[in-house]
C-alpha cells in the first residue's frame, strides 16, 4: 500500500504548493487594497463639488440597452436623467422592441422623431426609428447581440465621455460626478473608470435610488454580495493600483469615446483590448471607483461575473495571477479527489497500514479554506471601515454568516 500513500501525498504536496501561491497572492492583493482604501479615506474626497462647479467638466452620454419595456423602465430612465451632473444625455437603445411598446416612453418624455446619424463607430445594428428631446435619445434597433446594441448607442452618443450601464443597475444621485472625478483629477492619463457594484437584493429603493442598504435575505444571495465585494474592493482596487485591471463591470463604467471608437466599440475583454492598444504609450490608467454608488440585483450580476474570463497575460504582475486562475478549476477538482483519497488513506491507517501525511491535510485546510475566507471577510471589513453604508451593525454581521460559503481562489 506504500505506492498508494506516496501517490496521495505527492498529489497533496502539489496542491499545497498551488494553494500556497494563491493564498500569498490573495493576501498581497488584500494588503494593497486595504492600504489604498484606508489612505484614500484619510485623505478625504471633495471631488464631487469640484466636478459640478467646473465649467469644463466633460459632458457625458449615458448608454443603456433594453430588450423590452417593463413597468419600471420609464422610472429607471427618469432616474438616469435626474443624476447630478452639469451636462449629460441619456441614449436608450431598444433592441428588438416593437415600436408600439416604445410609445409610452416617447409620450412620457415628450420625444420627437428625428433622423438617426451614427458616427465614429461602425455598427451592424439596423436602426428602425429615433426620437429625442429633453436630454434623452431613444433608438429603436435590431442588433445581433448586446455588444452590437451597445455599439449602436456609442455611435449615437455625442459627448466626449461615454457611460455604460444596465437597466437593472440602481445608481446613486451623485454616481456620475464620482465616476468622472478621476478624469478631472488626472485628465492626461485616465482613459476609463469602472465602479464596484454592490448587491441590491434586500435594500430599500425609492424613486430609482437606494435609500437604505441592507444585506440580502437568502444565504446564497449574501454569498453573492460578498463575492462582489471581494472582486471589487480587493481584486479591483489592488489591480487598479498595479495598473493590471482586467475586470470592467458592465453595471457602471465610463470611457473616453475616442478610445472606444478606436477599439471598435464595447465588447468582451474590453480591459484587455485597452491595455493592448495603449501599451507603450505615454502612460494611462484605468481607475476603479470603490465608492458605493451602484447597486445590482444578484442574479444578473453573478451571470456577468461568470462571463468575464480573460485569456492571455497582460503584464508581469498579472501573469502569475492569470496562471492561478487557469489552474483554479483543476486544482479545486483535484482537491476533492485528494480529500476522497485521504479519507481512504485514513481507513487504511485504521487497519494497520501507513496513513496519509496529516501535515498535508492541515496545510490544505489553511491555504485552500481559511485564507480565502479571510480575504472574503477582509472585503467586508474594508467596506465597513472605508464606506460604512450600512446603517445597522446587523447587516454586515448577517453578511459575515455567508463567509464560509465563499472560499476558493477567484
Amino acid at each position: 500500500m506504500d505506492w498508494f500513500v506516496t501517490l496521495v501525498d505527492g498529489l497533496g504536496w502539489a496542491l499545497v504548493l498551488y494553494y500556497l501561491v494563491a493564498a500569498l497572492g490573495a493576501l498581497a492583493l488584500t494588503l494593497i487594497a486595504a492600504a489604498t482604501l484606508l489612505r484614500r479615506r484619510r485623505a478625504g474626497e471633495d471631488a464631487d463639488e469640484e466636478a459640478f462647479a467646473n465649467p469644463f467638466s466633460p459632458a457625458v452620454s449615458i448608454i443603456l440597452t433594453v430588450q423590452d419595456i417593463g413597468p419600471d423602465t420609464g422610472e429607471r430612465i427618469r432616474a438616469l436623467l435626474g443624476l447630478r451632473y452639469p451636462r449629460l444625455e441619456v441614449v436608450v437603445v431598444a433592441d428588438g422592441v416593437p415600436e408600439a411598446d416604445l410609445a409610452p416612453i416617447v409620450e412620457r418624455f415628450g420625444l420627437n422623431p428625428r433622423l438617426w446619424i451614427g458616427a465614429g463607430l461602425k455598427t451592424s445594428a439596423r436602426v428602425t426609428g429615433c426620437w429625442s428631446g429633453r436630454g434623452l435619445t431613444l433608438v429603436a434597433a435590431t442588433a445581433k447581440n448586446d455588444t452590437d446594441a451597445l455599439n449602436c448607442g456609442i455611435a449615437t452618443a455625442r459627448h466626449p465621455l461615454v457611460c455604460l450601464t444596465r437597466i437593472e443597475a440602481v445608481l446613486d444621485g451623485s454616481a456620475l460626478l464620482t465616476m468622472v472625478a478621476p478624469f478631472l483629477d488626472d485628465p492626461g492619463r485616465v482613459v476609463a473608470a469602472a465602479s464596484v457594484p454592490r448587491a441590491l437584493d434586500g435594500s430599500k429603493v425609492v424613486a430609482g435610488r437606494v435609500t437604505e442598504a441592507r444585506a440580502p435575505e437568502r444565504l446564497e444571495d449574501r454569498r453573492g454580495a460578498l463575492a462582489l465585494l471581494r472582486r471589487g474592493l480587493i481584486n479591483g482596487v489592488a489591480r487598479s493600483r498595479l495598473n493590471a485591471t482586467t475586470d470592467l463591470p458592465a453595471e457602471l463604467s465610463v470611457y473616453r469615446r475616442e478610445l472606444l471608437s478606436g477599439l471598435g466599440g464595447a465588447g468582451p475583454d474590453l480591459a484587455l483590448r485597452i491595455h493592448g492598444s495603449l501599451k507603450g504609450g505615454d502612460g494611462y490608467r484605468i481607475a476603479i471607483v470603490p465608492d458605493p454608488i451602484v447597486w445590482v440585483p444578484l442574479g444578473r450580476s453573478a451571470h456577468v461575473v461568470r462571463r468575464r474570463s480573460v485569456p492571455g497575460p497582460i503584464s508581469l504582475v498579472e501573469t502569475p495571477w492569470r496562471l492561478l486562475r487557469i489552474l483554479a478549476p483543476w486544482a479545486n477538482r483535484l482537491l476533492f479527489v485528494y480529500l476522497g483519497l485521504a479519507a481512504v488513506g485514513g481507513v487504511l491507517a485504521l487497519t494497520g497500514h501507513d496513513g496519509v501525511n496529516p501535515a498535508v491535510v492541515l496545510l490544505l485546510l489553511a491555504f485552500a479554506g481559511l485564507v480565502p475566507m479571510t480575504v472574503t471577510a477582509a472585503g467586508l471589513a474594508l467596506e465597513v471601515l472605508a464606506f460604512r453604508h450600512y446603517d445597522r451593525v446587523r447587516e454586515p454581521v448577517r453578511l459575515l454568516a455567508a463567509v464560509p460559503l465563499h472560499g476558493g481562489v477567484s
Binding site: R39, R40, R42, A43, G44, D46, E49, E50, N54, P55, F56, P58, R114, L115, I117, G118, A119, G120, R158, L184, D185, D186, P187, G188, R189, P358, A359, V360, L362, L363, L365, A366, F367, L370, V371, M373, T374, A377, A378, L380, A381, V384, L385, R388, Y390, V393, P396, V397, L400, V403
Partner: protein, 318 residues
C-alpha cells in the same frame, strides 16, 4: 507536523481577527462618530454664524480660539464642508479661524509630505480656504511629480483667485511635468475677468496648449473685445487644436459678429475644426448661418454631418 499546526493556527487566527474586525470597526466608528457629533455640536453654531457674516466676527474668532483640540478636531469636517460652500468675507473668516488654529501651517507642511494623496488634499484645502499666502507653495506644486497633485494645485490657485496666478498656470501647460489643459482652464476661469489681459497675451503664446487654454477660458470670461481678439487669432492660427478651442470659445460668447468667421470654418481642411464650427454655430443660434449648416450636412465625416444636423435642430428650436 509542528510547522503545519503553526501555519494552520496562524491562518485561523487571521480569519478570526478579520471576522471580529467587522463588528468591532462598525462599533468603534459608530461610537467615535457619536462622540464627535456631540463634541462638534458646541462649535457648529459658531461656525455657521461666522459663515453667515454676522457683525460679531472678532468675538466668534476669540471663542473658536478657546475651543479644546479634541473638540476642534471633531468640528473640522464641518468647517471644511463650509469652506467649499462660501465665498468672499465668509470664506475669509473661516480661513482666519483655520490660521488661528495652526491648520494652515499643517497644510503647508503636508504639501511637502511623501503621500501624493495628502499633498493633493492639502492643495485642495488651501484653495478652498482661498488662503493667499499659500499661493507660492501651490505654484511650486504645479511641477509636483504626481499629475493629480499638479491638477489639484492648479484648481486651488484658481480658487484663491489672484490674477497673478494666470502666468504660472499658462506656463505649467508645457514642460517636463505639464498640467492638463482642463484643470488649468477651470482655474483661469475662477481667476475672473481681472485675468483677461493675461489670457489675451496667452493667445499669442508660442505654446499651442497655452493658446488653446487661453481661448477656452476667454470663452467663459470674455466680452466683445475678446471676440475681436479671438477672431483675429482664428484667422492666423495654424494649429487645428487651437482653432477648435477658439471656435468653442466663440460659440460660448455668442456674438453674432462672429457668425461669418465661424461659418467659413465649416470648410476647414481639418474634420475636428469643421465639427467645432458646426457645434459653435449651434450655440450661437444665428439664423443667417442656416444655409452654411445645410451645406455641411454633406460633410464626408458622419460625425460632422450629425453636428450640423444638431445645430440646425437647435436653430429651429430657438
Amino acid at each position: 507536523m509542528g510547522v503545519s499546526w503553526t501555519v494552520a493556527a496562524v491562518c485561523l487566527g487571521l480569519l478570526l481577527a478579520t471576522v471580529a474586525l467587522v463588528p468591532a470597526a462598525y462599533w468603534l466608528r459608530d461610537r467615535r462618530g457619536r462622540r464627535r457629533w456631540q463634541r462638534a455640536a458646541r462649535v457648529r453654531p459658531l461656525l455657521l454664524r461666522l459663515a453667515a457674516e454676522g457683525d460679531d466676527e472678532e468675538e466668534l474668532l476669540a471663542e473658536l480660539g478657546r475651543v479644546g483640540p479634541r473638540t476642534w478636531r471633531a468640528a473640522r469636517p464641518q468647517l471644511v464642508s463650509l469652506l467649499y460652500k462660501t465665498r468672499g468675507s465668509a470664506q475669509a473668516g473661516l480661513a482666519e479661524v483655520m490660521e488661528q488654529r495652526g491648520e494652515m501651517r499643517r497644510l503647508l507642511a503636508a504639501t511637502s509630505g511623501w503621500s501624493p494623496l495628502l499633498r493633493r488634499r492639502a492643495a485642495h484645502l488651501l484653495g478652498a480656504a482661498g488662503w493667499e499666502p499659500g499661493r507660492n507653495r501651490l505654484t511650486f506644486l504645479l511641477r509636483d511629480a504626481d499629475p493629480e497633485v499638479r491638477a489639484a494645485a492648479a484648481l486651488a490657485l484658481g480658487r484663491i483667485g489672484d490674477p497673478r496666478s494666470a502666468r504660472p498656470l499658462l506656463k505649467a501647460l508645457a514642460g517636463h511635468r505639464p498640467v492638463g489643459p482642463d484643470p488649468v482652464a477651470a482655474a483661469l476661469v475662477r481667476l475672473g475677468p481681472a485675468a483677461a489681459p493675461q489670457l489675451r497675451a496667452g493667445l499669442e503664446s508660442p505654446q499651442p496648449r497655452a493658446r488653446s487654454t487661453s481661448a477656452a477660458a476667454l470663452g467663459v470670461l470674455g466680452g466683445p473685445r475678446d471676440v475681436r481678439e479671438l477672431l483675429s487669432r482664428l484667422e492666423r492660427e495654424e494649429e487645428a487644436d487651437v482653432r477648435v478651442a477658439i471656435l468653442g470659445a466663440l460659440g460660448r460668447l455668442g456674438s453674432p459678429a462672429s457668425a461669418g468667421a465661424i461659418s467659413a470654418r465649416l470648410g476647414d481642411h481639418d474634420p475636428a475644426v469643421r465639427r467645432a464650427a458646426a457645434e459653435a454655430l449651434g450655440e450661437l443660434g444665428a439664423g443667417s448661418t442656416a444655409e452654411a449648416l445645410r451645406a455641411a450636412l454633406d460633410d464626408p465625416d458622419p460625425a460632422n454631418a450629425r453636428a450640423a444636423a444638431d445645430a440646425l435642430l437647435r436653430l429651429e428650436g430657438s
